[in-house]
C-alpha cells in the first residue's frame, strides 16, 4: 500500500525526517519496501509562456508557437491543442525530457516546421484525466520555474507491506494512529461538521438486507443536487501521490475516504435506481452485471450484489456497476457505507478474477463500526466540494452490533515475564490508549481493556503484549547476556575437519600419552638447538620413559608402528592430532597443536581384484595437498632441512614465508633405531608433520572465493615426450602454463615412464591440458596453434623429444 508523508501529517504532527520515518515504520512492523519521491519527474517540465501561436497552412489544428521557457532565446514548438494561444502560461516539456516514464521528447519536424519540445496536457503529465487541451497555468506563474515547485508537488510516498492481521493499517489514519502511539503524539481525526438537512431520507429510498451473513451492516445516505465536477488541487494531489487517478469530485471523494480510512465506500447515481430502493441480496445464477471497468460478469448465487428494484447495481465490496455510475450529469447520489463478509468478497473476487482496492481491503476483514465514520466523512467532503442537499438521517441496517465489543485482560507482570524487560506501567498504558484501547477496570494485578472495533486482531493478552513490545521497540529490549566468546569455534571446527580429512584419506587415529622418553629425540638426529629440545621435564617422574612432556608426535608414531608391526599389523596408516608442550626460555610453557601422520606398507587393504601397492612419497604428498586445499592456503615446498628424512625424499612446507611442516621418507637407519627394519619388511616409512597452531594463526576462515562456472566447454589435449630425468615436472607445468595463461586452465601429469624404449637418463612424461576461454568456444584451429606453441616452448627450454 502507498502511504504519503504529507497525508500522514494531516493526522499526526510528524517531526521526523522522512528517511528516519522509514526505519521507524519498518521497526514498528510496517515494512517499507520502497520510497518514492513524488514530483521528481515533474521537475523536468517548465512553466513557459506562449509568445505567439499561428495556424499552419494545410492543417486543421496544428499551430506553430514561439515559447518563452525562461531561456535566452524563445523556442519554436508545434502544438495541436485548440486552447493554445498567445499569452497563455503553459507546462512545457523541453527536448530530452521524458513523459509518462517512457516517451522521450526529441527534436521533430511537423508540416515543415521544427518543433523543439512539447506543450503538455494535464493527463500527459499524470496530474488529472483532463485531456481536452493543454494545461492552462495561472497567469501569475513565474516563467522558468519547474512544474513540481509550481504545483507544489513534493511528497514522499512509502510503499509498505501490510501484514494480513492488520486491516486497520490499510488506511492512512490507521498508520497515523500507530505513529501517534509510537511517538506519544496526539492523533487528529477529522471531526464531523453540522449540516442543514432537508427531507427525510425515508421518503427517498428504501433499504433491505436479504443476506445478513454476508453483509453485517449497510448505511445509505442520500444527497441531492450535487455538482459533479473536477476536484480541487489538494484532493487530486492526495490521490496522485498514492497512484490513484482523479476522475470527478464524487468519485475522488470515495477514493480519498478509502485511502484515508482503509474502508471502501461507494456512490450510486440515485436517479438510475429503479424503484428507489437498495436491496443487498444473493445474485441470481447467471445474472449479468456490467461493472465499472467496462466488463460484464456472469454472476453465481454465491456472489452478493447490491441491487435496485430490478437489477444488480454493485458487486458487493468488489466493484460498482456501470448502470449506476456517477457521471458529470449526475445530480442526486446515494452513498453506501457498508461492511461485507471477507470470505464472500474473497470468493467473488477470485471467481471473477476481479481485484480492486475495495476487494483487497474487504477480504482482509473490516470493522462494522467504521461505516459510521466513513459516512460522516463522505457527507462533509461532498457537501463541501460538490454542494447539494443532505437528506435527513441515514438508512442503517446493522443486525448484530454486539459482535464488535471485545474485552481483554492484561497482567503487567506477564509483560515483564514474557519480554524479559521492565516496561513502566505508564508507558504500557500510554501505548494501548494511543492505539484506541479503552481502559475499563484496573487492579494491581490486571487491567481490563475494551478493544476498539477496528482492531479485530486483538483478542488475547498475548496480542496486547505484542503491541506493547512493537511500540516499545524490539531494539529496546535488552539482550540477555548469555555465555559467549569463550569457545574458540575456529580451532574447534578446524580440528574436527582435519581429523575427518585424515580418516577419509584412510588413516586411523591413535592417541598416545603426553609423557615420553626424550632420549628418542637423539634418535631423530635433532640438533642441540632444535626447538624440540626445549623440554618440560617432570621433577618426580614415574619412570624414565615417561619423564618429559613430548615436544613432537613423531617418536610416538614410530613407537606405535613398531608395536603394530610386531603384532602382525604391517600396513600402518596412522595419525595423531594432539598437543606438544615446549619450554620457553623464561620458564613458561607453550602448548601447541601438532598433526603427525605415518604411512608404511600397503596403500590399501588387499583386495582380490587389485594388485597391492606400497605407500610412497606421493601418497604423503597427496595428503598434504588435500589438507591445504581444505584449509584454503597456498603453499610451496623447499627441500627439507630435517635430518630424520632420507636425503632427496622430503620437503618442507612453506606458507606465507613460514615453515609450517615437513613430510618425507624416514631415513631407514632412523627407522631401524626404532626397531623398524625397512629392508627386511620391504616397506619404507613416510611421515607428515604439521604445526597446526601455525595454520590456525595464518588461515582466513571468512574468505572463500566463488569462481564463475564457465559456460563454454573445456577442451582437453594430451602431450607426451621424452625429456632428461633431471628436468622437474613443476618447471615443465609452469612453462606450459605461461604459453597462454588465460586459456590453459590446468596441466596435470598423466604418466611417467622410464626403462624399455626410453634412452638412459631420460623419462617419458605425459601431460593432459585443460583449455578454456571465458568468452568463446575454442576452435580446432586455435587449439592446434596453441599446442604448437607449447611444443616449441618445451623444445626450446627442455630439449624435449615428442613421442
Amino acid at each position: 500500500m502507498k502511504i504519503s508523508y504529507k497525508w500522514l501529517k494531516d493526522y499526526v504532527n510528524l517531526d521526523v525526517d522522512p528517511k528516519i520515518l522509514e526505519d521507524h515504520l519498518t521497526f514498528a512492523g510496517i515494512e517499507v519496501e520502497a520510497i518514492e519521491h513524488i514530483g521528481e519527474d515533474l521537475k523536468q517540465f517548465i512553466v513557459a509562456e506562449v509568445l505567439s501561436a499561428q495556424k499552419i497552412e494545410g492543417s486543421d489544428h496544428l499551430q506553430v508557437c514561439m515559447v518563452n521557457d525562461g531561456g535566452e532565446e524563445p523556442v519554436q514548438v508545434v502544438c495541436g491543442a485548440p486552447n493554445c494561444r498567445t499569452g497563455l502560461k503553459v507546462a512545457f516539456a523541453p527536448v530530452g525530457s521524458i513523459i509518462g516514464g517512457e516517451f522521450k521528447i526529441k527534436k521533430a519536424k511537423l508540416k515543415g516546421y521544427a518543433s523543439h519540445g512539447m506543450i503538455c496536457s494535464a493527463k500527459e503529465l499524470g496530474i488529472s484525466e483532463d485531456h481536452d487541451g493543454i494545461m492552462e497555468l495561472d497567469t501569475k506563474a513565474s516563467i522558468g520555474q519547474d512544474l513540481a515547485s509550481y504545483l507544489d508537488f513534493n511528497d514522499i510516498v512509502y510503499d509498505v507491506e501490510i501484514t494480513p492481521n492488520r486491516p486497520d493499517l490499510l488506511g492512512i489514519i490507521g498508520v497515523a494512529r500507530d505513529l501517534s502511539a509510537l511517538y506519544h503524539k496526539e492523533l487528529h481525526l477529522p471531526q464531523a461538521k453540522e449540516w442543514n438537512t432537508y427531507d427525510d431520507v425515508n421518503d427517498s429510498l428504501k433499504l433491505e438486507i436479504q443476506n445478513q451473513d454476508k453483509c453485517s451492516r449497510y448505511l445509505a445516505t442520500v444527497i441531492k443536487n450535487v455538482e459533479v465536477k473536477e476536484s480541487p488541487d489538494w484532493l487530486k494531489k492526495r490521490l496522485i501521490a498514492v497512484e490513484l487517478r482523479p476522475i470527478n469530485n464524487i468519485v475522488d471523494i470515495t477514493n480519498f475516504i478509502l485511502m484515508e480510512t482503509g474502508h471502501p465506500i461507494h456512490a450510486f447515481d440515485y436517479d438510475k435506481l429503479a424503484g428507489k430502493k437498495i436491496i443487498v441480496r444473493d445474485a441470481f445464477e447467471n445474472e449479468s452485471f456490467p461493472a465499472l471497468n467496462g466488463e460484464v460478469y456472469k454472476l453465481s448465487q454465491d456472489d452478493l450484489v447490491i441491487a435496485d428494484g430490478d437489477k444488480a447495481i454493485g458487486l458487493a465490496g468488489v466493484m460498482g456497476g456501470a448502470n449506476s455510475e456517477i457521471t458529470l450529469n449526475t445530480q442526486n447520489i446515494v452513498i453506501e457505507s457498508a461492511c461485507f463478509n471477507y470470505a464472500t468478497v474473497r470468493r467473488t473476487s477470485q471467481r471473477h478474477k476481479l481485484f480492486s482496492d475495495s476487494s483487497y481491503r474487504f477480504e482482509r476483514g473490516l470493522s462494522s463500526e467504521t461505516p459510521v465514520f466513513t459516512k460522516d466523512r463522505a457527507i462533509d467532503l461532498i457537501l463541501d466540494l460538490a454542494g447539494g442537499q443532505l437528506q435527513q438521517g441515514s438508512l442503517d441496517v446493522y443486525p448484530n452490533p454486539d459482535l464488535a465489543k471485545i474485552e481483554v485482560e492484561l497482567r503487567p507482570a506477564r509483560v515483564e515475564l514474557l519480554l524479559g524487560a521492565h516496561i513502566p506501567l505508564v508507558e504500557i498504558k500510554s501505548y494501548l490508549k494511543a492505539l484506541g484501547l479503552e481502559l475499563i477496570t484496573e487492579s494491581s494485578e490486571k487491567i481490563k481493556y475494551k478493544i476498539p472495533h477496528f482492531r479485530g486482531d486483538l483478542l488475547r493478552e498475548i496480542d496486547l503484549i505484542e503491541e506493547i513490545v512493537r511500540l516499545h521497540g524490539y531494539n529496546n529490549i535488552p539482550v540477555k547476556t548469555s555465555p559467549q566468546g569463550i569457545m574458540n569455534h575456529k580451532h574447534f571446527r578446524l580440528e574436527r575437519k582435519i581429523k575427518d580429512l585424515m580418516v577419509t584419506a584412510g588413516l586411523y587415529e591413535v592417541i598416545n600419552l603426553t609423557l615420553f622418553d626424550p632420549d628418542n629425540l637423539n634418535k631423530l638426529r635433532l640438533s642441540e638447538d632444535d626447538f624440540r629440545r626445549r623440554l618440560v621435564e617432570l621433577k618426580n617422574p614415574q619412570s624414565n620413559v615417561l619423564r618429559a612432556m613430548r615436544t613432537t608426535l613423531i617418536t610416538n608414531l614410530l613407537n606405535c608402528t613398531e608395536y603394530n608391526i610386531n603384532r602382525g599389523n604391517k600396513d600402518v596408516r596412522i595419525f595423531e592430532l594432539n598437543k606438544i608442550i615446549l619450554n620457553n626460555s623464561d620458564k613458561t610453557t607453550e602448548e601447541r597443536k601438532s598433526l603427525t601422520a605415518l604411512l608404511s606398507g600397503n596403500r590399501f587393504d588387499n583386495y582380490w581384484k587389485d594388485k597391492s601397492t606400497k605407500c610412497d612419497f606421493y601418497d604423503v604428498k597427496g595428503i598434504v595437498e588435500d589438507l591445504f586445499t581444505e584449509v584454503n592456503l597456498t603453499i610451496s615446498y623447499t627441500p627439507s632441512q630435517e635430518k630424520f628424512y632420507t636425503e632427496n625424499h622430503s620437503l618442507d612446507i612453506i606458507c606465507k614465508k613460514l615453515k609450517i611442516g615437513s613430510f618425507g621418507q624416514i631415513d631407514p637407519k632412523i627407522a631401524k633405531s626404532f626397531n623398524i627394519d625397512t629392508v627386511e619388511l620391504k616397506q619404507d616409512v613416510y611421515i607428515l608433520d604439521i604445526d597446526l597452531t601455525q595454520i590456525l594463526e595464518i588461515m582466513d576462515f571468512s574468505k572463500r572465493d566463488f569462481q564463475e562456472i564457465n559456460k563454454f566447454p573445456n577442451v582437453y589435449r594430451d602431450i607426451s615426450f621424452n625429456v632428461n630425468s633431471d628436468i622437474k615436472v613443476s618447471d615443465i607445468i609452469s612453462t606450459i602454463e605461461v604459453v597462454n595463461k588465460a586459456v590453459v586452465k590446468n596441466v596435470s601429469l598423466m604418466d611417467e615412464y622410464k626403462g624399455k624404449n626410453i634412452p638412459k637418463g631420460k623419462r617419458s612424461l605425459m601431460f593432459s591440458l585443460t583449455l578454456n576461454s571465458e568468452n568463446k568456444t575454442l576452435t580446432d584451429k586455435f587449439t592446434e596453434q596453441l599446442m604448437q606453441k607449447v611444443i616449441q616452448s618445451l623444445e626450446k627450454n627442455y630439449n624435449i623429444e615428442m613421442r
Partner: protein, 340 residues
Amino acid sequence: MKDKLQQIIDKAESELNSITTKPELLNAKSRIIGKKSELNSLMKNIKDVAPEDRREFGQLINEAKDYLQQLIDSRTQIIDELIYNEQVASSRIDLTMPGRRTVQGGLHPLTQIWREVEDTFLSMGFEIADGFDVEDEFHNFDALNTPKDHPSRNLADTFYVEDNILLRTQTSTVQIRTMENYQPPIRIIAPGRCYRNDKMDASHSPVFHQVEALVVDENISFADLKDTLNIFVQTMFGQNIKSRIRPHFFPFTEPSAEIDISCVSCGGSGCRICKNSGWLEMGGAGMVDPAVLESVGIDSEKYTGYAFGLGIDRITMLKYNIPDMRILFENDLRFLKQYR
C-alpha cells in the same frame, strides 16, 4: 504376378528364419526390400502393365512390401532378444565375492566419545573452553579451595615440573581460568587431559581424560545440576539410564556429590561390571563453593553455580565395552579398526 510375389515372400520368410546376427539381417533387408531387390525391380515394371491394372498392381506390391517389412521387424526383435539373453548369460558373476570397501581410516574411540560429549553439551547451550596441561598450583589447588596440606598435593599423587608448576590433576582448573576472564553468565564445558601419578593398569593411567562442566549465573540451583546431568546421561547412554548423586566431599564445591549412573550392562540388577551394586561411578559434582567464586572476584551472593567432572575414558569404556584402560593407549590397529 501374384505368384511371383508369393514366391518372393516365401523365399524371404525362409531366408529370415535362419538369420541370427544383426549384420546378416541388414544384408538380408537390402536383398529383400532394398533398391536392388527383386521386389523393387518388379515395381519398375509397372509401366508395362495395362493402365487400368496399374492401380491394383501397385497396391499388391505395397502390401507385399509392408508384409516383408513386418517380417524383418519381428526378426529384429527376435535377434535383439537373443543378443540380450547371450549378454546376461555370459556376464554371470560370483555374488559371494567380497565388495570393494572405500579406503577409510577411523577416529580413535576416545575421540568419537569426546565428540559425542561435546555435541551433547553444545546442544544444551554450553560453550567449549580450553585449558593448559601444564598448570600452576594456584589454578589447580589454591583457587579451588584446596588446603595447603591436602594429600592430593603430594608428590606421590601429582606430577610436578617446578615447585609450584605441575601437570593438572583435574580439568577444574579451567573453571578458574574461565571465571578469571569472563563474567557470569558462564556456561562451559572443558574437555581435556589430566595427569595423576598412578601406575598404568586396567582402570588407571597416569594420563587420562576428563570433561568439566561449569555453570554460573543468577538463580542456578542444585536442581539445575541434576537436570543437566540427567539429560547428559540419557543422551549418552539412553533413556533408560538413571543418574543419582550422593553426598561426597570436594574442596571446591559445597554441597558436593558423586555421580552414579544405573549400570549400562545389567540395567541395575547387578553384574560383574557394577560389582553387583547396579550403579556405576561416573564422576564428581556440586555447587561451586562461594569461596571459589570470591577468589576469582565473582559476587557469591548474586551468583551461584554448579560444576561437575566426568571421565571420558570411563564413558568410552562403558559405551564400547572395553574391559581394560590400557587398550585405549596401545593403538593396536586391530582394535582401532573395530570402532571405525
